[in-house]
């Protein structure tokens, strides 16, 4: 996959950001709820730091500006779908401008637990307009790599039930009542989210990783890909056996 150098914005440059100054690497881990993203990110962080890289890890709804407001809004009962998209976009913009961009300027490796793709997938799952969502998120930087941890709905269900042991209201898309109860709504909502992410995979050049594999195997696969980002293969690659 070609690495855009310097980094670029998707469609709308952020006021006051000179992309030529951004020296670091922006790596995104995407995937549906409970697929195991955060486990991988914490291991990747340790590994990257051992290699001498400074790492910033960040993720959805962790901004200084909007994280508290989002958490509170999700506890109430009036958070509409467009409002949710825009609240998350506010959170994302705050982190992009105040954490991600400064870290990239300083030459950090930025590991982000989800990016605009989850935000868009959630909107799409709620029948929001695709082109609207894309343009709203157009101020995002094109990452060096997007690793999409992909799992199907049955395996997500099993992770939720055997792991945390209950269905979450928002992870089940209960605000939209996709089904009569949390389980049925979860199944339908997550299927919509996965479908939306799958559709983005080609356009946004995701590297899809099968998340049904054991965590160690996924980790090694991520390591291999990320090594490739830092040490791009020489032009003449020895031909592999078919």
């Amino acid at each position: 996959m070609p690495i855009p150098n310097p980094l670029q914005f998707y469609s709308e440059p952020l006021p006051g950001v000179d992309t030529a100054e951004l020296q670091g690497k922006l790596i995104v881990i995407e995937g549906p709820d409970t697929v195991g993203r955060s486990t991988q990110i914490s291991r990747l962080r340790v590994w990257l730091e051992q290699q001498g890289h400074a790492v910033l890890d960040t993720g959805l709804a962790r901004s200084a500006l909007a994280s508290g407001g989002i958490a509170k809004a999700k506890k109430g009962n009036t958070l509409g779908p467009v409002t949710m998209t825009l609240f998350y976009a506010t959170d994302f913009a705050d982190r992009l401008e105040n954490e991600i961009v400064p870290a990239l300027r300083a030459g950090f490796v930025v590991l982000t637990d989800r990016y605009i793709f989850s935000l868009m997938a959630r909107g799409l799952a709620r029948s929001e307009d695709a082109s609207w969502l894309e343009k709203v998120a157009g101020f995002a930087l094109v990452p060096h790599a997007v690793y999409y941890l992909r799992a199907d709905v049955p395996s997500l269900v099993s992770r939720v039930v055997m792991g945390r042991g209950n269905f979450d209201f928002w992870e089940s898309g209960m605000d939209m009542r996709f089904g009569p109860d949390m389980y049925e709504s979860y199944v339908r909502y997550q299927a919509r989210v996965i479908r939306a992410l799958d559709r983005m995979a080609a356009k946004y050049e995701f590297t899809t990783i099968d998340a049904s594999n054991p965590a160690d195997m996924i980790f090694r696969e991520l390591q291999r890909h990320i090594n490739g980002l830092f040490h791009p293969p020489k032009k003449r690659v020895r031909a592999r056996k078919a």
């Binding site: 709308e12 779908p81 467009v82 409002t83």
Partner: protein, 237 residues
């Protein structure tokens, strides 16, 4: 492609725009009161007033955390919440919704802050298109006189202090409002604003507003389509 989302509901949306000190809020509340006195269902909504978003906005303002992009996004979030939770249901129910400021405020103000016009116009594409948009045209000095005389302090973002136009808050406010005024003037025709001369007397402006409302919405009102008190209008079905 339409800029906004057409209003397909029974109710009607009336909005007012203008720089600070143009008198638009005074006029809108007089109008709302009059419509109500005619037996019509009226609902009012103000810019930047969603309880869901309030704390975040307050926090961002207090700690000066906003950039042009986040400032724009949080106001869009605020509007989305008011539209989803209040404006839409009221329009569906058949009320006349009176909104003090609308997406055009963002089109003017956020663009002055440096946000791309194309991006911010897309941002509000979900907003229901007003049936009537009033723009209160006023010379900068008149508006400034009303604001600077009547209020004790102008706030940081209100004065556009984040734009570093001037270190003096009054001067910054003057420059910022002047630029917003230019943006409003630039879009007045495109957006189909009904322009009200906001230097006229309060009474004259109000009469002009009422006249335009009846001219534009009179038929819908007379038909009984707008939610109203029993016996106020005879529906000619």
């Amino acid at each position: 492609m339409p800029l906004l989302t057409p209003n397909r509901f029974k109710g009607k949306l009336i909005i007012v725009e203008g720089i600070d000190g143009s008198g638009k809020s005074t006029q809108l509340s007089l109008l709302a009161q009059w419509l109500r006195s005619q037996g019509l269902a009226v609902a009012s909504s103000e810019w930047n007033s969603s309880p869901l978003v309030r704390e975040t906005t307050r926090r961002g303002k207090k700690k000066l955390m906003f950039t042009p992009t986040t400032f724009s996004l949080i106001h869009a979030t605020d509007f989305a919440d008011r539209q989803e939770r209040f404006i839409l249901p009221m329009l569906k129910a058949g009320a006349i919704v009176c909104a003090d400021r609308f997406a055009y405020t963002a089109f003017a103000r956020d663009v002055v802050r440096g946000v791309s016009p194309r991006w911010v116009r897309n941002l509000y594409k979900f907003a229901i298109e007003p049936n009537l948009a009033f723009y209160f045209r006023v010379p900068l000095e008149v508006a400034l006189g009303r604001i600077l005389g009547g209020r004790d302090s102008i706030k940081y973002y209100e004065a556009g202090m984040d734009l570093n136009l001037s270190r003096r808050i009054e001067e910054s406010f003057r420059l910022f409002q002047g630029r917003i005024l230019e943006e409003y003037e630039g879009m007045a025709q495109e957006m189909g604003f009904h322009v009200i001369d906001a230097t006229g007397s309060i009474e004259d402006q109000q009469m002009e507003m009422r006249r335009i409302v009846m001219e534009q919405l009179g038929e819908a009102i007379a038909s009984g389509q707008i939610l109203h008190k029993e016996g106020t209008f005879r529906a000619n079905t």
